[in-house]
């Protein structure tokens, strides 16, 4: 039921360790499946790319059976590091609540949270849904077995607070993910790669986007800045924001090993102020190595 193909034996890999055998009347199956970066497509097909765009190592999938034989599926994704656990959580979340791990979202019959390097989803089986409270209880019990530290990526904490649309922050590495959240170009103009980290967030008024990319070094940032300027805003004059064809504005800046872009600002002033606010935050916090 949970997929097939070249999955590994979860038990033999010891990956069930953080998952309690009993949780308030729910019993974990002894049969679990584990999928790694190569076999993830056997479990979730093309959406496996979402996980592979982060430092995903493997996912353990196991069923818990509770009262009246209702079953839930638990997925324990080892995302390699806390930033990428947060990243995959931020990928699709629309809301966020606190109290489980570093944050959780409960929509429909699915509860997902991130904690330390793990991303965990508990999903009701269609047609026999577990109660909302049961999903929360199971999530809390699993959370207790995971390492507690759940710091958000520094780059996310650098986002200017004023005007930030709640829960709009997306943390990622690759061009495909940027285009998923905000289509920029087919070509990788910003030279995003597995070594870059990026945060994209929406701002009011209007629906402006602020993108901050952190590169390996200043030279890489300078290359990306030049590539983006030539490919996306060849009409830029100095550091002034550029009016785009949809009546909005784009601003482009670079600072140290960072590139900052504001898309779809309502006015030239908003574009430049938001870019400057990001630069100010970057300058303030260079010490903590974003």
């Amino acid at each position: 039921m949970l997929g097939c193909g070249s999955q590994d034996s979860a038990s033999s890999m010891g990956t069930l360790g953080p998952l309690p055998h009993q949780i308030d009347g729910w019993t974990r199956s002894d049969f679990a499946q584990t999928y790694n970066r190569q076999t993830i497509f056997d479990y979730i097909n093309g959406a496996g790319e979402v996980y592979r765009s982060y430092a995903f190592g493997h996912v353990t999938v196991v069923a818990y059976t509770g009262p009246e034989n209702i079953a839930v599926t638990v997925e324990l994704f080892d995302m390699g590091n806390p930033s990428d656990a947060y990243g995959v959580f931020s990928y699709g979340r629309e809301r966020e609540e606190t109290g489980i791990g570093g944050g959780y979202e409960h929509r429909g019959g699915v509860l997902c949270f991130w904690q330390n390097r793990f991303y965990v989803c508990i999903a009701s089986e269609p047609g026999a849904a577990a109660s909302d409270q049961a999903l929360v209880d199971i999530a809390r019990a699993i959370s207790e077995g995971l390492p507690a530290e759940s710091d958000r990526p520094n780059l996310v904490r650098l986002l200017p607070a004023e005007g930030l649309v709640p829960f709009s922050e997306r943390f990622f590495h690759l061009q495909q993910t940027l285009n998923y959240h905000y289509y920029v170009a087919r070509e990788n103009l910003l030279k995003l790669n597995v070594r870059t980290t990026a945060v994209l967030a929406r701002y009011r008024p209007g629906a402006a986007y602020l993108l901050i990319v952190s590169y390996e070094n200043e030279s890489a940032a300078a290359d990306a800045w030049l590539s983006f300027r030539d490919g996306y805003v060849p009409d830029a004059e100095g550091s002034r924001a550029v009016a785009t064809e949809n009546g909005k504005f784009v601003a482009l800046r670079t600072y140290s090993r960072f590139v900052v872009v504001v898309f779809d600002a309502e006015s030239e002033a908003q574009a430049e102020q938001l870019a400057q606010a990001a630069l100010d935050r970057l300058a303030e916090s260079m010490d903590w190595g974003a």
Binding site: A47, V50, G108, Q176, Y183, A185, R186, Y232
Partner: protein, 298 residues
């Protein structure tokens, strides 16, 4: 079938240079392609019934049979469905029915069985018909197939915009190598030796389509609705284009704003403009509507 890829940006789409990726009208530069299945216009039948789908897993098989029969007659302009099946399938064909088994929203068995019956009616022996999803490359009938029938439900998808008829052939490639740029090159799957020129019929299941995601791969039935439709065509691109419009209009209705798919389902338009597999431009789609018209969204 390598393609010269342009580096179109969001600003190019704003200028109207090429509006495909943002899901507006079509228009990428169109290099020549070997995969020239494209015709001037494509006939697509959309048939609906308000009583066929009472839930995600609650489908009326009798109505499905009736709907598919009517759709076939309208599509192939024959007197009855049996004649249509004989038009597209020969008794000596070896037929693979490519279905979709995604556990939350699979192709309903009622649809699968109607298609299987149609193939058998055309005179194909039982041993020369197979139904498969994940293991098509390991299936002996698929490996020696001369004809394919393609069917799946449409749903939003966090890597390709929508799970489409085009994407349903992803299991003909292992390991899958079509995920770049939101699966932009999915049409290439239709030019593999095991698939090229074999597809006789596409049935896009819109009984309870999914118009929104939870996270990368989860499912919530509240993001489906009883549309009660089947989209039938010999052109997978045209059928997908019609289905995509319905999904996008449903999103606009539910969210109260134009909320684009994430990512955009540009693989459908590119299958037209870059790969010439079929027609995604509605002006080149001859849409035949049958049955229930209320809230058709197209």
């Amino acid at each position: 079938m390598s393609q010269e890829r342009s580096s179109l940006t969001r600003r190019d789409f704003m200028r109207g240079v090429g509006s495909v990726a943002l899901g507006v009208a079509a228009g990428f530069p169109a290099p020549a392609s070997a995969n020239t299945a494209q015709t001037d216009t494509s006939r697509v039948v959309l048939i609906r019934n308000p009583d066929v789908a009472l839930g995600v897993r609650d489908t009326d098989g009798v109505l499905v049979q009736q709907m598919l029969d009517d759709a076939m007659v309208a599509l192939f302009r024959q007197d009855d469905a049996s004649e249509c099946w004989r038009q597209i399938i020969r008794p000596d064909d070896v037929v693979g029915i490519k279905t979709n088994g995604w556990r939350f929203l699979p192709t309903p068995p009622e649809v699968e069985q109607v298609l299987r019956r149609g193939v058998l009616q055309a005179g194909v022996p039982e041993g020369n018909v197979a139904m498969e999803d994940q293991r098509v490359l390991r299936n002996e009938v698929f490996r020696r197939s001369t004809a394919l029938i393609n069917t799946r439900p449409m749903r939003t998808h966090s890597w390709s915009g929508v799970g489409s008829l085009l994407k349903n052939y992803i299991t003909f490639s292992h390991p899958p190598d079509y995920h770049a740029d939101a699966c932009a090159s999915l049409a290439e799957l239709w030019d593999l030796p095991i698939t090229r020129g074999k597809t006789r019929l596409n049935v896009l299941v819109m009984l309870t389509p999914q118009f929104h995601n939870i996270g990368p791969h989860h499912f919530d039935p509240s993001y489906t609705w009883p549309y009660g439709g089947l989209i039938v065509s010999t052109d997978p691109v045209a059928a997908d284009a019609v289905g995509l419009q319905i999904i996008q209009r449903k999103r606009r209705l539910v969210f109260g704003e134009d909320r684009p798919l994430q990512p955009t389902a540009h693989h459908i338009a590119l299958a037209d403009t870059e790969y010439r597999l079929g027609n995604a431009d509605m002006s080149r789609i001859d849409l035949v509507r049958l049955g229930w018209e209320e809230n058709s969204l197209i």
